[in-house]
């Protein structure tokens, strides 16, 4: 039965998160944008305490109860949307399991989940991060050069390589006892089939944070480079099978990464939506203060240019949000959602940029001014169409799905 009513439990959570967004994020938005690489500990500690108080280790959905409807991913999407509405950069500093944990949750064994995820339930906030991109490759993830070689004698994996654009890598490895998930190849000749994610814990010798990027936006979030030099991790830190099976062209290791993306892309899309909603709300507020209200219901021929823009923004925002919710709803209900997941990311990445760009344009010098947050949100927005698969890569995923093509058929 088609239903657009927010489940009561999620509505409650949303209200709580809104309070956090309003009181702990918005007031410091500008500060942390202008003080790049400073860490919003107040927010982080609060979130850690709050998550613990609610009995969770992270915002990510756990195994959950067996009976009744599941809505862990729907709840997560709603929370992320609201936190990003508060501040898209500070949101990325939320402790307690983000993309790295998602990989562990999606592909780890029960033992691995316990070992790596229990740290989020501790006294102090802990972070994690995902390391995929390398200096020579971004979207073309099958071209990664970081290697994982098994030292059979010591039963350890030896990792070598360089990872860049690691979101929250500094906090995961230096500011907390967290971990990163490093994608490496255990058999370069096997291509994608040889790719595996490895968990590398903080303070592991041979793993070094080498660089912090200066970015266009989301400046409250650290983005680092990580160099692995003969970095040894226990055998059990590999996620997924250590065997390389090359008989199947669509390969297990790579599939693991893709399965993770099915879960994480709608969440990143939700982040984009939160930012877009913040922008649209502020825009309408600023316009209203200046005597411009939007007359819904009129034919386009009677609308002013600003009204047309705002109404179009509303349509973009609303429709993209439902795509996101449908994708996570499918996730919760065990329906394959690669198509919907990438669709939501394509649309949300587009929408947040169109909305923030238009808002700055409409407000003119006020939009461009750092007195207001519109210009910041314009800068924050761009990343949504880049990370977790650029808009183009996600178009490729959508196209392959609707055309029934394998990656070799549509390159």
């Amino acid at each position: 039965m088609i239903d657009f009513e927010i489940p009561e439990k999620i509505a409650g959570t949303r209200l709580v998160v809104e309070t956090v967004a309003v009181n702990m994020m918005r007031p410091v938005s500008r500060y942390f944008d202008e003080h790049e690489h400073e860490i919003p500990w107040d927010y982080i500690n609060f979130m850690h305490t709050a998550t613990k108080a609610m009995g969770g280790a992270s915002m990510a959905p756990g195994e959950g109860k067996k009976e009744g409807p599941r809505f862990g991913f729907q709840r997560l999407a709603v929370m992320v949307e609201m936190l990003s509405w508060g501040d898209a950069g500070i949101y990325l500093d939320t402790p307690g399991g983000m993309l790295g944990s998602a990989a562990v949750s999606a592909t780890g064994t029960p033992e691995q989940k316990e070992r790596f995820l229990k740290r989020f339930r501790g006294e102090t906030p802990v972070f994690d991060a995902m390391c995929m991109t390398e200096p020579q490759c971004g979207s073309d993830t099958s071209a990664i050069r970081t290697t994982g070689v098994l030292d059979k004698e010591k039963n350890e994996w030896v990792l070598n390589g360089e990872k860049i654009f690691v979101t929250a890598g500094h906090k995961a490895m230096l500011d907390s006892e967290g971990f990163i998930v490093v994608w490496a190849t255990i058999d370069a000749s096997a291509g994608r089939a040889g790719m595996r994610p490895f968990v590398v814990e903080a303070k592991t010798p041979g793993c070094q944070v080498t660089n912090m990027e200066h970015k266009l936006g989301i400046r409250a979030s650290d983005t680092v480079s990580i160099v692995l030099t003969d970095c040894r991790v226990p055998f059990d830190n590999i996620l997924g099978s250590p065997e390389v099976v090359t008989t199947d062209k669509a390969t297990t290791g790579f599939k693991g990464a893709m399965a993770t993306f099915d879960a994480t892309r709608p969440i990143v899309a939700a982040q984009a939506i939160g930012l877009a909603r913040a922008t649209l709300e502020l825009l309408k507020e600023m316009l209203a203060e200046r005597g411009v209200t939007i007359r819904y219901g009129l034919p386009r021929q009677k609308l002013t240019s600003i009204e047309k823009d705002v109404i179009d923004m509303e349509i973009l925002l609303r429709s993209a949000w439902w795509l996101v919710l449908k994708a996570v709803w499918m996730m919760d209900n065990g329906k394959p959602n690669s198509l919907e997941s990438s669709m939501s990311k394509v649309r949300a990445g587009d929408v947040v940029n169109r909305i923030t760009q238009k808002a700055v344009e409409i407000m003119g010098p006020l939009g461009y001014s750092r007195e207001y947050l519109l210009e910041k949100w314009f800068r924050d927005a761009k990343i949504s169409d880049i990370y977790e698969g650029t808009g183009q890569i996600n178009r490729l995923v959508v196209a392959r799905q609707i055309l029934g093509y394998r990656s070799s058929e549509l390159r």
Partner: protein, 361 residues
Amino acid sequence: MYSFEPSDEQKLLIETARRYSVSDLRKAAHDAEEKKELPLTLINKGWELGILHASIPEAYGGFGERSTLTSALAAEEFAYGDLAGALAIGTPSLFALPILLAGSEAQKKQYLPPIIASDWKPYTAALIEPAFDFDPNDLKTIAKAEGGEYILTGEKAFVPFAAQAEVMIVFAKLKKETKGFIVPKGAAGLRVQEEREKYMGLNAIPFYKVTLDGVKVSKSDLLPGDFAPLLDASRVAIAAMAVGVAKAAFEYARDYARERDVFGVKVAQKQAIAFMLAEMATEIEAIRLLVWEAAWAIDNNKEDASQKAYLAVTGAIDMVMMVTDRAVQILGGHGYIRDHPVELWMRNGRGFATFTGLAMV
């Protein structure tokens, strides 16, 4: 609780509607457009699927309760087959649903049972006016109260089956509000232009200009209820049909692109084309959800249902133009030839900006 899955009953209806839509409507679409006529048997077959019947309570001869969402799902399927066919099947709804939603008890009792009991008959309604800034909430057709009667004056266009209909609803501005009035064929001052109107698309449906030159109707012919729910119902219907047309165009272009050879590969294997298709599919799905949300909001008496319906149709207008235009583009020269249906869908696609008032769910 969020859910994006139709009920079993709805799925069954979608299946049935699609079967008819593909094997009957789609097959007849080309000839109907060229010959400017839909076979009555074809319309009747669609009518017998009982979409309107299911919206009318048993007390008035129907067998159900109105669900905007369910009807919208069916409307999408019909339009997926052929828009003209979908609109023709639904034309009696233009009369029956305003009676149901805004009519008096007496009007419902008088008009609804015979509509439902009989074969498809051309009951209709006149809303659209021949003006670039036509606004359903600010009509140029005026109703004046005068000695226990109303006098209607104005000009209507795009009235389907006006010449054939025994009775129609005419929408006019009474004081500041849009109101519906029941006007029988042959009323003094009512003139249905003899010659059919000529439009860019929908040639299979006879449309007429209707002029009202001081048409007198009695007090009992005024629909007492508000216009807003009627407009919402029309916007959602048109938006759902836009999704159906877009889906048809997208699928046709997708299948063509998978077959067509170019530079040693299929044209769909070129990112320039594949990305167009990916965006079309995304756009369709996004707007479909917006339409569902609006229909759901109406069914659940949500306060902002009208705004949702407005946003849905406004989004659908852009979506369907984008998708149908690209479908023609993907077929290239072949898309421009009337042997392929995409040019017809593109003509339909542009019309959606004007079609509010031609369907209701």
